[in-house]
Protein backbone atom coordinates (compact mmCIF):
# COMPACT_ATOMS: atom_id res chain seq x y z
CA UNK A 1 0.00 0.00 0.00
CA UNK A 2 1.28 3.40 -0.89
CA UNK A 3 0.33 4.99 2.37
CA UNK A 4 0.90 3.21 5.60
CA UNK A 5 -1.58 4.22 8.16
CA UNK A 6 0.08 3.75 11.51
CA UNK A 7 -1.13 0.71 13.29
CA UNK A 8 -1.82 1.88 16.78
CA UNK A 9 -1.51 -0.23 19.80
CA UNK A 10 -5.24 -0.34 20.09
CA UNK A 11 -5.70 -2.43 17.02
CA UNK A 12 -7.57 -5.46 17.98
CA UNK A 13 -5.27 -7.94 16.37
CA UNK A 14 -2.16 -6.80 18.10
CA UNK A 15 -3.49 -6.45 21.62
CA UNK A 16 -3.83 -10.11 22.44
CA UNK A 17 -5.26 -10.91 25.80
CA UNK A 18 -5.43 -8.20 28.42
CA UNK A 19 -5.69 -8.58 32.13
CA UNK A 20 -9.22 -8.40 33.36
CA UNK A 21 -8.37 -6.01 36.14
CA UNK A 22 -7.05 -3.42 33.71
CA UNK A 23 -10.31 -3.18 31.78
CA UNK A 24 -12.76 -3.03 34.65
CA UNK A 25 -15.65 -0.63 34.00
CA UNK A 26 -14.50 -0.13 30.44
CA UNK A 27 -16.12 -1.14 27.22
CA UNK A 28 -15.15 -4.60 26.01
CA UNK A 29 -15.99 -5.97 22.59
CA UNK A 30 -16.88 -9.51 21.52
CA UNK A 31 -13.81 -11.51 20.71
CA UNK A 32 -11.53 -10.01 23.32
CA UNK A 33 -9.82 -12.36 25.69
CA UNK A 34 -9.20 -11.49 29.29
CA UNK A 35 -6.58 -12.91 31.58
CA UNK A 36 -7.53 -13.75 35.10
CA UNK A 37 -5.37 -12.17 37.77
CA UNK A 38 -3.89 -15.20 39.42
CA UNK A 39 -2.49 -16.40 36.17
CA UNK A 40 -0.40 -13.28 35.92
CA UNK A 41 0.94 -13.80 39.39
CA UNK A 42 1.98 -17.27 38.52
CA UNK A 43 3.65 -16.09 35.36
CA UNK A 44 5.32 -13.11 36.92
CA UNK A 45 6.59 -14.61 40.12
CA UNK A 46 8.90 -16.94 38.31
CA UNK A 47 10.96 -18.96 40.61
CA UNK A 48 10.81 -16.63 43.57
CA UNK A 49 8.98 -17.62 46.69
CA UNK A 50 8.45 -20.98 48.22
CA UNK A 51 5.71 -22.25 46.07
CA UNK A 52 5.79 -26.00 45.84
CA UNK A 53 6.69 -27.28 42.44
CA UNK A 54 3.55 -28.27 40.64
CA UNK A 55 3.54 -31.77 39.26
CA UNK A 56 2.12 -30.53 35.99
CA UNK A 57 4.34 -27.65 35.02
CA UNK A 58 1.96 -26.17 32.55
CA UNK A 59 -1.01 -25.83 34.86
CA UNK A 60 -1.10 -23.00 37.37
CA UNK A 61 -3.49 -23.02 40.24
CA UNK A 62 -6.39 -20.72 39.69
CA UNK A 63 -8.77 -19.06 42.01
CA UNK A 64 -12.34 -19.89 41.20
CA UNK A 65 -13.89 -17.03 39.33
CA UNK A 66 -17.55 -16.97 38.41
CA UNK A 67 -18.18 -16.10 34.80
CA UNK A 68 -21.31 -14.00 34.51
CA UNK A 69 -23.42 -12.91 31.55
CA UNK A 70 -21.47 -11.87 28.50
CA UNK A 71 -18.39 -13.96 29.28
CA UNK A 72 -17.41 -17.49 28.37
CA UNK A 73 -14.48 -19.60 29.36
CA UNK A 74 -12.06 -20.40 26.61
CA UNK A 75 -9.24 -22.51 27.91
CA UNK A 76 -7.97 -20.67 30.94
CA UNK A 77 -9.08 -17.24 29.78
CA UNK A 78 -12.35 -15.40 29.59
CA UNK A 79 -13.77 -14.68 26.17
CA UNK A 80 -16.05 -11.69 25.86
CA UNK A 81 -19.20 -12.49 23.90
CA UNK A 82 -21.25 -9.32 24.30
CA UNK A 83 -20.38 -5.68 24.05
CA UNK A 84 -20.65 -3.69 27.25
CA UNK A 85 -18.91 -2.54 30.39
CA UNK A 86 -16.89 -5.11 32.27
CA UNK A 87 -17.81 -5.32 35.94
CA UNK A 88 -16.38 -7.21 38.86
CA UNK A 89 -17.67 -7.99 42.27
CA UNK A 90 -15.46 -9.13 45.08
CA UNK A 91 -16.47 -12.34 46.79
CA UNK A 92 -18.33 -11.74 50.01
CA UNK A 93 -17.21 -14.88 51.73
CA UNK A 94 -13.53 -14.42 51.05
CA UNK A 95 -12.81 -17.47 48.98
CA UNK A 96 -12.91 -17.44 45.24
CA UNK A 97 -12.06 -14.68 42.85
CA UNK A 98 -15.43 -13.02 42.67
CA UNK A 99 -17.75 -12.55 39.75
CA UNK A 100 -16.98 -10.95 36.42
CA UNK A 101 -19.73 -9.96 34.05
CA UNK A 102 -20.48 -7.64 31.17
CA UNK A 103 -23.12 -4.95 31.63
CA UNK A 104 -24.74 -4.75 28.24
CA UNK A 105 -27.82 -2.96 26.96
CA UNK A 106 -30.34 -5.35 25.57
CA UNK A 107 -34.01 -5.55 24.82
CA UNK A 108 -34.57 -9.26 24.41
CA UNK A 109 -34.91 -11.32 27.55
CA UNK A 110 -33.45 -14.79 28.00
CA UNK A 111 -34.95 -16.74 30.93
CA UNK A 112 -32.66 -17.27 33.88
CA UNK A 113 -33.43 -19.44 36.88
CA UNK A 114 -34.51 -17.45 39.90
CA UNK A 115 -35.53 -14.33 38.01
CA UNK A 116 -38.83 -12.72 38.89
CA UNK A 117 -40.74 -11.78 35.77
CA UNK A 118 -44.11 -10.52 34.67
CA UNK A 119 -45.80 -12.86 32.24
CA UNK A 120 -49.02 -12.80 30.29
CA UNK A 121 -51.15 -15.94 30.27
CA UNK A 122 -51.65 -17.02 26.68
CA UNK A 123 -53.21 -20.44 26.98
CA UNK A 124 -54.72 -22.79 29.46
CA UNK A 125 -54.25 -26.43 28.61
CA UNK A 126 -55.15 -29.04 31.12
CA UNK A 127 -53.12 -28.57 34.23
CA UNK A 128 -50.74 -25.90 33.07
CA UNK A 129 -50.87 -22.34 31.86
CA UNK A 130 -48.67 -21.10 29.06
CA UNK A 131 -47.23 -17.75 30.00
CA UNK A 132 -45.50 -15.41 27.59
CA UNK A 133 -42.43 -13.95 29.30
CA UNK A 134 -40.78 -12.33 26.30
CA UNK A 135 -38.29 -15.10 25.69
CA UNK A 136 -38.00 -17.50 22.81
CA UNK A 137 -40.71 -19.82 24.09
CA UNK A 138 -43.61 -19.48 26.50
CA UNK A 139 -43.03 -20.65 30.05
CA UNK A 140 -45.25 -23.22 31.67
CA UNK A 141 -46.96 -22.57 35.00
CA UNK A 142 -48.74 -25.30 36.83
CA UNK A 143 -52.03 -24.47 38.45
CA UNK A 144 -50.76 -25.98 41.69
CA UNK A 145 -47.93 -23.47 41.86
CA UNK A 146 -50.05 -20.85 43.56
CA UNK A 147 -50.40 -20.32 47.25
CA UNK A 148 -53.23 -22.28 48.70
CA UNK A 149 -54.01 -24.06 45.47
CA UNK A 150 -55.15 -27.64 45.57
CA UNK A 151 -56.74 -29.88 43.04
CA UNK A 152 -60.15 -28.82 44.22
CA UNK A 153 -59.31 -25.20 44.90
CA UNK A 154 -58.00 -23.98 41.58
CA UNK A 155 -56.64 -20.47 41.24
CA UNK A 156 -58.71 -18.00 39.30
CA UNK A 157 -56.46 -17.35 36.32
CA UNK A 158 -57.81 -16.44 32.91
CA UNK A 159 -56.14 -16.03 29.55
CA UNK A 160 -54.77 -12.52 29.33
CA UNK A 161 -54.05 -12.14 33.04
CA UNK A 162 -50.75 -10.79 34.25
CA UNK A 163 -48.71 -13.09 36.44
CA UNK A 164 -45.73 -12.21 38.60
CA UNK A 165 -43.65 -15.29 39.23
CA UNK A 166 -40.16 -16.71 39.27
CA UNK A 167 -38.42 -19.29 37.18
CA UNK A 168 -37.59 -22.65 38.71
CA UNK A 169 -36.31 -24.20 35.50
CA UNK A 170 -34.67 -22.01 32.89
CA UNK A 171 -31.87 -23.31 30.76
CA UNK A 172 -31.18 -23.37 27.09
CA UNK A 173 -32.26 -26.97 26.60
CA UNK A 174 -35.61 -27.10 28.31
CA UNK A 175 -38.82 -25.19 28.24
CA UNK A 176 -38.82 -22.62 31.06
CA UNK A 177 -41.05 -23.30 34.03
CA UNK A 178 -42.25 -20.73 36.48
CA UNK A 179 -44.07 -20.79 39.78
CA UNK A 180 -45.87 -18.27 41.90
CA UNK A 181 -44.75 -19.57 45.28
CA UNK A 182 -41.40 -19.58 46.96
CA UNK A 183 -39.62 -22.53 48.44
CA UNK A 184 -41.65 -22.28 51.63
CA UNK A 185 -44.90 -22.46 49.76
CA UNK A 186 -45.90 -18.85 50.31
CA UNK A 187 -46.85 -16.40 47.62
CA UNK A 188 -44.53 -13.64 48.76
CA UNK A 189 -46.01 -11.14 46.37
CA UNK A 190 -46.24 -13.43 43.41
CA UNK A 191 -49.39 -14.49 41.68
CA UNK A 192 -51.96 -12.79 39.54
CA UNK A 193 -51.54 -9.05 39.25
CA UNK A 194 -54.76 -7.21 39.87
CA UNK A 195 -57.09 -5.35 37.62
CA UNK A 196 -56.35 -2.15 35.73
CA UNK A 197 -52.97 -0.55 35.67
CA UNK A 198 -50.61 -0.28 32.74
CA UNK A 199 -48.01 -2.75 31.52
CA UNK A 200 -45.19 -1.47 29.39
CA UNK A 201 -41.80 -2.61 28.26
CA UNK A 202 -38.40 -1.08 28.81
CA UNK A 203 -34.87 -2.29 28.25
CA UNK A 204 -33.36 -4.83 30.60
CA UNK A 205 -30.61 -2.45 31.62
CA UNK A 206 -33.12 0.11 32.79
CA UNK A 207 -34.85 -2.43 35.02
CA UNK A 208 -31.56 -3.34 36.64
CA UNK A 209 -30.76 0.31 37.11
CA UNK A 210 -34.13 1.03 38.71
CA UNK A 211 -33.80 -1.93 41.02
CA UNK A 212 -30.27 -1.12 42.09
CA UNK A 213 -30.03 -0.35 45.78
CA UNK A 214 -28.68 3.15 45.25
CA UNK A 215 -31.36 4.29 42.86
CA UNK A 216 -33.46 7.12 44.24
CA UNK A 217 -35.94 7.26 41.45
CA UNK A 218 -38.44 5.03 43.16
CA UNK A 219 -38.26 6.95 46.40
CA UNK A 220 -38.76 10.22 44.62
CA UNK A 221 -41.61 8.90 42.59
CA UNK A 222 -43.17 7.39 45.65
CA UNK A 223 -43.43 10.73 47.32
CA UNK A 224 -45.87 11.96 44.75
CA UNK A 225 -48.97 9.91 45.23
CA UNK A 226 -50.08 6.43 46.16
CA UNK A 227 -48.96 4.00 43.56
CA UNK A 228 -48.22 0.40 42.84
CA UNK A 229 -45.34 -0.78 40.72
CA UNK A 230 -44.23 -4.25 39.83
CA UNK A 231 -40.89 -4.74 38.07
CA UNK A 232 -40.24 -7.84 36.03
CA UNK A 233 -36.68 -8.72 35.12
CA UNK A 234 -37.85 -9.40 31.59
CA UNK A 235 -38.18 -5.71 30.95
CA UNK A 236 -41.84 -5.35 31.85
CA UNK A 237 -43.16 -2.86 34.35
CA UNK A 238 -46.72 -2.70 35.62
CA UNK A 239 -47.86 0.52 37.21
CA UNK A 240 -51.08 1.61 38.74
CA UNK A 241 -52.20 4.79 40.39
CA UNK A 242 -55.55 6.22 41.36
CA UNK A 243 -56.37 7.88 38.07
CA UNK A 244 -55.37 7.16 34.53
CA UNK A 245 -53.57 10.48 34.29
CA UNK A 246 -51.39 9.65 37.26
CA UNK A 247 -50.70 6.21 35.85
CA UNK A 248 -49.55 7.67 32.57
CA UNK A 249 -47.37 10.22 34.29
CA UNK A 250 -45.76 7.44 36.23
CA UNK A 251 -45.17 5.41 33.09
CA UNK A 252 -43.61 8.41 31.39
CA UNK A 253 -41.31 9.03 34.34
CA UNK A 254 -40.07 5.49 34.35
CA UNK A 255 -39.52 5.39 30.63
CA UNK A 256 -37.72 8.71 30.71
CA UNK A 257 -35.51 7.60 33.58
CA UNK A 258 -33.19 5.94 31.14
CA UNK A 259 -31.66 9.36 30.82
CA UNK A 260 -29.26 10.19 33.57
CA UNK A 261 -30.13 12.29 36.54
CA UNK A 262 -33.27 12.20 38.51
CA UNK A 263 -33.94 15.84 39.26
CA UNK A 264 -33.90 16.87 35.67
CA UNK A 265 -36.21 14.06 34.84
CA UNK A 266 -38.79 14.97 37.40
CA UNK A 267 -38.85 18.53 36.28
CA UNK A 268 -39.22 17.48 32.69
CA UNK A 269 -42.41 15.56 33.13
CA UNK A 270 -45.53 17.14 34.46
CA UNK A 271 -45.21 16.59 38.09
CA UNK A 272 -48.19 18.47 39.41
CA UNK A 273 -51.26 16.42 38.67
CA UNK A 274 -54.35 18.16 39.77
CA UNK A 275 -56.11 17.05 42.84
CA UNK A 276 -53.20 15.42 44.57
CA UNK A 277 -52.25 16.48 48.03
CA UNK A 278 -48.79 17.72 48.46
CA UNK A 279 -46.50 15.42 50.31
CA UNK A 280 -48.26 12.20 49.52
CA UNK A 281 -46.20 9.19 50.34
CA UNK A 282 -46.07 5.72 49.01
CA UNK A 283 -49.04 3.76 50.03
CA UNK A 284 -47.30 0.56 50.63
CA UNK A 285 -48.29 -1.52 53.48
CA UNK A 286 -46.86 -4.20 55.58
CA UNK A 287 -47.49 -7.87 55.53
CA UNK A 288 -50.84 -9.44 55.73
CA UNK A 289 -52.04 -10.65 59.04
CA UNK A 290 -54.37 -13.02 57.38
CA UNK A 291 -51.57 -14.88 55.69
CA UNK A 292 -48.62 -14.92 57.91
CA UNK A 293 -48.66 -11.95 60.18
CA UNK A 294 -45.19 -10.77 59.48
CA UNK A 295 -43.16 -9.24 56.75
CA UNK A 296 -41.19 -11.65 54.76
CA UNK A 297 -38.15 -11.21 52.62
CA UNK A 298 -37.23 -12.64 49.38
CA UNK A 299 -34.15 -12.13 47.32
CA UNK A 300 -34.35 -11.87 43.65
CA UNK A 301 -31.57 -11.56 41.20
CA UNK A 302 -30.01 -8.30 42.15
CA UNK A 303 -32.13 -6.01 44.23
CA UNK A 304 -35.80 -6.36 43.60
CA UNK A 305 -38.34 -3.89 44.73
CA UNK A 306 -41.96 -4.70 44.70
CA UNK A 307 -44.71 -2.52 46.01
CA UNK A 308 -48.02 -4.10 45.57
CA UNK A 309 -51.31 -3.39 47.14
CA UNK A 310 -54.68 -4.67 46.18
CA UNK A 311 -57.20 -1.91 46.37
CA UNK A 312 -60.01 -2.46 48.72
CA UNK A 313 -58.31 -5.20 50.66
CA UNK A 314 -55.80 -5.03 53.36
CA UNK A 315 -52.77 -4.41 51.33
CA UNK A 316 -49.60 -6.30 51.01
CA UNK A 317 -46.29 -4.69 50.46
CA UNK A 318 -42.93 -6.10 50.29
CA UNK A 319 -39.80 -4.21 49.91
CA UNK A 320 -37.32 -6.72 48.83
CA UNK A 321 -33.86 -6.29 50.13
CA UNK A 322 -30.79 -5.31 48.29
CA UNK A 323 -27.71 -7.44 48.32
CA UNK A 324 -26.95 -6.38 51.84
CA UNK A 325 -30.16 -7.81 53.14
CA UNK A 326 -31.44 -4.68 54.74
CA UNK A 327 -35.19 -4.37 54.80
CA UNK A 328 -36.94 -1.10 55.03
CA UNK A 329 -40.60 -1.27 55.64
CA UNK A 330 -42.73 1.66 54.71
CA UNK A 331 -45.91 2.60 56.42
CA UNK A 332 -48.21 4.53 54.19
CA UNK A 333 -50.23 7.50 55.15
CA UNK A 334 -51.54 10.43 53.25
CA UNK A 335 -49.02 12.98 54.32
CA UNK A 336 -46.18 11.06 55.81
CA UNK A 337 -42.81 10.15 54.52
CA UNK A 338 -40.97 6.93 54.26
CA UNK A 339 -39.88 5.55 57.57
CA UNK A 340 -37.63 2.63 58.30
CA UNK A 341 -38.53 -0.13 60.56
CA UNK A 342 -37.10 -3.50 61.26
CA UNK A 343 -38.70 -6.63 60.06
CA UNK A 344 -40.36 -7.60 63.25
CA UNK A 345 -41.41 -4.09 64.07
CA UNK A 346 -43.58 -3.65 61.06
CA UNK A 347 -47.24 -3.64 61.91
CA UNK A 348 -49.97 -4.18 59.43
CA UNK A 349 -52.19 -1.23 58.74
CA UNK A 350 -55.29 -0.70 56.78
CA UNK A 351 -55.00 0.72 53.33
CA UNK A 352 -55.55 4.45 53.36
CA UNK A 353 -57.53 5.29 50.32
Amino acid sequence: MAESVPVTAESLAGSGARAACTVLNQVVLPGEELLLPEQEDADGAGGAGERPLPLNAGVCSRVRVVCGPGLRRSGDRLLVTKCGLLRHKEPSSGSGGGVYWVDSQQKRYVPVKGDHVIGIVTAKSGDIFKVDVGGSEPASLSYLAFEGATKRNRPNVQVGDLIYGQFVVANKDMEPEMVCIDSCGRANGMGVIGQDGLLFKVTLGLIRKLLAPDCEIIQEVGKLYPLEIVFGMNGRIWVKAKTIQQTLILANILEASKMSCSSSRLSRSRMKPSGVLAGVALSCLSALEQYSGQMWLFRGRGAVLQLWARPGLQGRARRLPAEGGEVRGAVGCAAGSLSSSSVSGCRPRKHVA
Binding site: S11, A13, K172
Partner: protein
Amino acid sequence: MRTGYATCAQAHSAGRKRRSGLHVGSGTMEGVVAAGANAHADTGTECRSRGPGCSLRHFACEQNLLSRPDGSASFLQGDTSVLAGVYGPAEVKVSKEIFNKATLEVILRPKIGLPGVAERNRERMIRNTCEAVVLGALHPRTSITVVLQIVSDAGSLLACCLNAACMALVDAGVPMRALFCGVTCALDSDGTLVLDPTAKQEKEARAVLTFALDSVDRKLLMSTTKGLYSDAELQQCLAAAQTASQHVFRFYRDSLLRRYSKS
Protein backbone atom coordinates in the same frame (compact mmCIF):
# COMPACT_ATOMS: atom_id res chain seq x y z
CA MET B 1 -33.83 8.03 20.97
CA ARG B 2 -30.73 7.60 18.95
CA THR B 3 -27.57 6.54 20.59
CA GLY B 4 -24.23 5.42 19.49
CA TYR B 5 -23.74 7.77 16.61
CA ALA B 6 -20.17 7.96 15.41
CA THR B 7 -18.31 8.83 12.29
CA CYS B 8 -14.92 7.88 11.12
CA ALA B 9 -13.04 9.98 8.67
CA GLN B 10 -9.88 8.26 7.77
CA ALA B 11 -8.30 11.49 6.64
CA HIS B 12 -8.91 12.90 10.04
CA SER B 13 -7.48 10.03 11.97
CA ALA B 14 -4.39 9.72 9.83
CA GLY B 15 -3.79 13.41 10.22
CA ARG B 16 -3.26 14.09 6.59
CA LYS B 17 -4.93 16.39 4.17
CA ARG B 18 -6.48 14.06 1.74
CA ARG B 19 -9.44 14.85 -0.37
CA SER B 20 -11.80 12.01 0.16
CA GLY B 21 -15.29 12.13 -1.08
CA LEU B 22 -17.38 13.24 1.85
CA HIS B 23 -20.69 13.41 0.18
CA VAL B 24 -23.28 13.54 2.83
CA GLY B 25 -25.27 10.53 1.84
CA SER B 26 -28.90 9.75 1.37
CA GLY B 27 -31.73 11.92 2.51
CA THR B 28 -32.95 9.77 5.34
CA MET B 29 -29.70 9.94 7.15
CA GLU B 30 -28.98 13.53 6.43
CA GLY B 31 -29.72 14.94 9.79
CA VAL B 32 -27.45 12.48 11.39
CA VAL B 33 -24.51 12.43 9.06
CA ALA B 34 -24.44 16.15 8.53
CA ALA B 35 -23.72 16.71 12.18
CA GLY B 36 -20.65 14.59 11.91
CA ALA B 37 -19.57 15.81 8.55
CA ASN B 38 -19.54 19.39 9.67
CA ALA B 39 -16.31 18.72 11.37
CA HIS B 40 -14.77 17.80 8.06
CA ALA B 41 -14.58 19.96 5.03
CA ASP B 42 -15.50 19.03 1.54
CA THR B 43 -19.14 18.16 1.58
CA GLY B 44 -20.98 17.85 -1.64
CA THR B 45 -18.18 16.60 -3.81
CA GLU B 46 -19.01 13.57 -5.79
CA CYS B 47 -15.77 12.80 -7.50
CA ARG B 48 -13.40 10.63 -5.67
CA SER B 49 -9.79 11.42 -5.99
CA ARG B 50 -8.13 8.94 -3.79
CA GLY B 51 -4.61 7.79 -3.99
CA PRO B 52 -4.32 4.50 -5.83
CA GLY B 53 -5.40 1.59 -3.83
CA CYS B 54 -5.50 2.65 -0.27
CA SER B 55 -8.33 4.53 1.24
CA LEU B 56 -11.75 3.70 2.50
CA ARG B 57 -14.65 6.06 2.20
CA HIS B 58 -16.19 7.97 5.01
CA PHE B 59 -17.95 5.74 7.53
CA ALA B 60 -20.88 6.49 9.74
CA CYS B 61 -22.83 4.21 12.00
CA GLU B 62 -25.82 4.61 14.19
CA GLN B 63 -27.22 2.03 16.59
CA ASN B 64 -30.52 1.47 18.30
CA LEU B 65 -32.48 3.62 15.92
CA LEU B 66 -35.48 1.34 15.41
CA SER B 67 -37.82 0.68 18.29
CA ARG B 68 -39.28 -2.71 17.41
CA PRO B 69 -36.30 -4.92 16.61
CA ASP B 70 -34.11 -6.14 19.44
CA GLY B 71 -31.10 -4.56 17.79
CA SER B 72 -30.69 -2.22 14.86
CA ALA B 73 -27.93 -0.36 13.12
CA SER B 74 -27.45 1.81 10.11
CA PHE B 75 -24.12 1.79 8.34
CA LEU B 76 -22.91 4.30 5.78
CA GLN B 77 -19.88 3.89 3.58
CA GLY B 78 -19.59 6.91 1.38
CA ASP B 79 -22.92 6.94 -0.40
CA THR B 80 -23.81 3.35 0.26
CA SER B 81 -26.20 3.01 3.15
CA VAL B 82 -27.75 -0.09 4.67
CA LEU B 83 -30.18 -0.38 7.57
CA ALA B 84 -30.13 -3.60 9.59
CA GLY B 85 -32.49 -4.96 12.23
CA VAL B 86 -31.99 -8.06 14.35
CA TYR B 87 -34.66 -10.07 16.12
CA GLY B 88 -33.55 -12.76 18.44
CA PRO B 89 -33.27 -15.17 20.08
CA ALA B 90 -36.95 -15.54 19.30
CA GLU B 91 -39.48 -18.26 18.57
CA VAL B 92 -38.84 -20.48 15.64
CA LYS B 93 -41.17 -22.58 13.56
CA VAL B 94 -40.87 -26.25 14.32
CA SER B 95 -40.01 -26.96 10.70
CA LYS B 96 -37.01 -24.68 10.87
CA GLU B 97 -35.71 -25.35 14.35
CA ILE B 98 -32.32 -26.94 14.89
CA PHE B 99 -32.04 -28.98 18.04
CA ASN B 100 -28.61 -27.82 19.15
CA LYS B 101 -28.14 -24.31 17.85
CA ALA B 102 -29.94 -21.19 16.78
CA THR B 103 -31.43 -20.87 13.30
CA LEU B 104 -29.97 -17.80 11.66
CA GLU B 105 -32.00 -16.13 8.92
CA VAL B 106 -30.97 -13.20 6.80
CA ILE B 107 -33.44 -11.20 4.75
CA LEU B 108 -32.09 -8.63 2.32
CA ARG B 109 -34.46 -6.19 0.69
CA PRO B 110 -33.29 -4.14 -2.28
CA LYS B 111 -34.07 -0.51 -2.57
CA ILE B 112 -36.61 -1.02 -5.37
CA GLY B 113 -38.28 -4.09 -6.70
CA LEU B 114 -38.69 -7.54 -5.29
CA PRO B 115 -35.76 -9.54 -4.05
CA GLY B 116 -34.29 -11.73 -6.74
CA VAL B 117 -31.52 -14.22 -7.18
CA ALA B 118 -28.76 -11.73 -6.45
CA GLU B 119 -30.33 -10.89 -3.11
CA ARG B 120 -30.71 -14.54 -2.26
CA ASN B 121 -27.06 -15.06 -3.07
CA ARG B 122 -26.00 -12.19 -0.84
CA GLU B 123 -28.29 -13.41 1.91
CA ARG B 124 -26.60 -16.77 1.82
CA MET B 125 -23.15 -15.23 2.04
CA ILE B 126 -24.09 -12.98 4.92
CA ARG B 127 -25.73 -15.89 6.67
CA ASN B 128 -22.68 -18.06 6.36
CA THR B 129 -20.53 -15.30 7.76
CA CYS B 130 -22.84 -14.69 10.69
CA GLU B 131 -23.12 -18.38 11.46
CA ALA B 132 -19.36 -18.62 11.78
CA VAL B 133 -19.32 -15.89 14.37
CA VAL B 134 -22.55 -16.08 16.34
CA LEU B 135 -22.55 -18.54 19.27
CA GLY B 136 -25.69 -20.34 18.24
CA ALA B 137 -25.10 -23.19 20.65
CA LEU B 138 -26.13 -20.96 23.53
CA HIS B 139 -29.65 -20.62 22.18
CA PRO B 140 -30.79 -23.89 20.65
CA ARG B 141 -34.24 -24.07 19.07
CA THR B 142 -34.47 -20.34 18.65
CA SER B 143 -34.22 -18.11 15.64
CA ILE B 144 -32.05 -15.09 15.08
CA THR B 145 -33.26 -13.02 12.14
CA VAL B 146 -31.24 -10.28 10.49
CA VAL B 147 -33.22 -8.01 8.19
CA LEU B 148 -31.25 -5.72 5.91
CA GLN B 149 -32.74 -2.90 3.91
CA ILE B 150 -30.65 -1.25 1.23
CA VAL B 151 -31.19 2.46 1.48
CA SER B 152 -28.76 3.50 -1.22
CA ASP B 153 -26.26 1.59 -3.29
CA ALA B 154 -23.13 3.30 -4.51
CA GLY B 155 -20.65 0.44 -4.61
CA SER B 156 -19.30 -2.03 -2.04
CA LEU B 157 -22.78 -3.08 -1.16
CA LEU B 158 -22.01 -6.49 0.29
CA ALA B 159 -19.32 -5.09 2.54
CA CYS B 160 -21.67 -2.43 3.81
CA CYS B 161 -24.34 -5.08 4.46
CA LEU B 162 -21.86 -7.15 6.46
CA ASN B 163 -20.83 -4.18 8.55
CA ALA B 164 -24.41 -3.19 9.23
CA ALA B 165 -25.28 -6.77 10.19
CA CYS B 166 -22.37 -6.93 12.61
CA MET B 167 -23.28 -3.69 14.34
CA ALA B 168 -26.91 -4.73 14.58
CA LEU B 169 -25.97 -8.09 16.11
CA VAL B 170 -23.82 -6.32 18.68
CA ASP B 171 -26.66 -3.92 19.44
CA ALA B 172 -29.06 -6.79 19.98
CA GLY B 173 -26.75 -8.49 22.44
CA VAL B 174 -26.49 -11.72 20.47
CA PRO B 175 -23.46 -13.61 21.82
CA MET B 176 -20.64 -13.65 19.31
CA ARG B 177 -17.15 -15.03 19.40
CA ALA B 178 -15.71 -12.13 17.40
CA LEU B 179 -16.73 -9.12 15.37
CA PHE B 180 -16.58 -9.23 11.62
CA CYS B 181 -16.37 -6.69 8.84
CA GLY B 182 -16.59 -6.61 5.09
CA VAL B 183 -14.09 -5.04 2.72
CA THR B 184 -14.37 -4.82 -1.06
CA CYS B 185 -11.46 -4.52 -3.49
CA ALA B 186 -11.59 -3.79 -7.16
CA LEU B 187 -8.81 -4.53 -9.62
CA ASP B 188 -8.89 -2.42 -12.70
CA SER B 189 -7.41 -3.28 -16.06
CA ASP B 190 -3.86 -2.23 -15.25
CA GLY B 191 -3.75 -4.10 -12.00
CA THR B 192 -4.32 -1.19 -9.65
CA LEU B 193 -6.05 -2.10 -6.45
CA VAL B 194 -8.86 0.12 -5.23
CA LEU B 195 -10.39 -0.49 -1.82
CA ASP B 196 -14.03 0.31 -1.19
CA PRO B 197 -14.83 1.07 -4.83
CA THR B 198 -17.73 3.19 -5.98
CA ALA B 199 -20.34 1.82 -8.35
CA LYS B 200 -18.53 3.33 -11.31
CA GLN B 201 -15.22 1.85 -10.29
CA GLU B 202 -16.82 -1.54 -9.80
CA LYS B 203 -18.33 -1.46 -13.23
CA GLU B 204 -15.07 -0.57 -14.90
CA ALA B 205 -12.99 -3.00 -12.89
CA ARG B 206 -11.59 -6.22 -14.19
CA ALA B 207 -12.33 -8.01 -10.93
CA VAL B 208 -14.24 -7.22 -7.76
CA LEU B 209 -13.43 -9.16 -4.60
CA THR B 210 -15.28 -8.94 -1.29
CA PHE B 211 -13.87 -10.40 1.90
CA ALA B 212 -15.35 -10.85 5.34
CA LEU B 213 -12.73 -10.80 8.07
CA ASP B 214 -13.02 -11.46 11.75
CA SER B 215 -11.66 -9.24 14.46
CA VAL B 216 -9.56 -11.69 16.45
CA ASP B 217 -6.83 -12.66 14.00
CA ARG B 218 -8.04 -11.03 10.81
CA LYS B 219 -8.98 -14.46 9.60
CA LEU B 220 -10.93 -14.81 6.43
CA LEU B 221 -14.55 -15.79 7.05
CA MET B 222 -16.02 -15.40 3.60
CA SER B 223 -14.84 -14.32 0.19
CA THR B 224 -16.74 -13.76 -2.99
CA THR B 225 -15.12 -12.71 -6.19
CA LYS B 226 -16.18 -11.80 -9.67
CA GLY B 227 -13.89 -11.34 -12.65
CA LEU B 228 -10.38 -12.27 -13.72
CA TYR B 229 -7.41 -12.09 -11.42
CA SER B 230 -4.25 -13.98 -10.75
CA ASP B 231 -3.21 -15.82 -7.64
CA ALA B 232 -0.72 -13.15 -6.64
CA GLU B 233 -3.34 -10.49 -7.07
CA LEU B 234 -5.70 -12.41 -4.84
CA GLN B 235 -3.11 -12.51 -2.09
CA GLN B 236 -2.38 -8.85 -2.56
CA CYS B 237 -6.06 -7.95 -2.33
CA LEU B 238 -6.45 -10.09 0.76
CA ALA B 239 -3.52 -8.42 2.46
CA ALA B 240 -4.88 -4.99 1.60
CA ALA B 241 -8.29 -5.97 2.91
CA GLN B 242 -6.79 -7.21 6.16
CA THR B 243 -5.03 -3.92 6.69
CA ALA B 244 -8.15 -1.97 5.83
CA SER B 245 -10.19 -4.04 8.26
CA GLN B 246 -8.17 -2.55 11.10
CA HIS B 247 -9.73 0.79 10.35
CA VAL B 248 -13.17 -0.69 10.32
CA PHE B 249 -12.62 -2.40 13.66
CA ARG B 250 -11.20 0.74 15.14
CA PHE B 251 -14.29 2.55 13.95
CA TYR B 252 -16.49 -0.10 15.54
CA ARG B 253 -14.62 0.37 18.78
CA ASP B 254 -14.96 4.14 18.72
CA SER B 255 -18.62 3.89 17.88
CA LEU B 256 -19.35 1.49 20.71
CA LEU B 257 -17.23 3.44 23.18
CA ARG B 258 -19.23 6.51 22.37
CA ARG B 259 -22.48 4.67 22.82
CA TYR B 260 -21.60 3.27 26.21
CA SER B 261 -20.09 6.46 27.45
CA LYS B 262 -23.48 8.12 27.14
CA SER B 263 -25.28 5.68 29.38
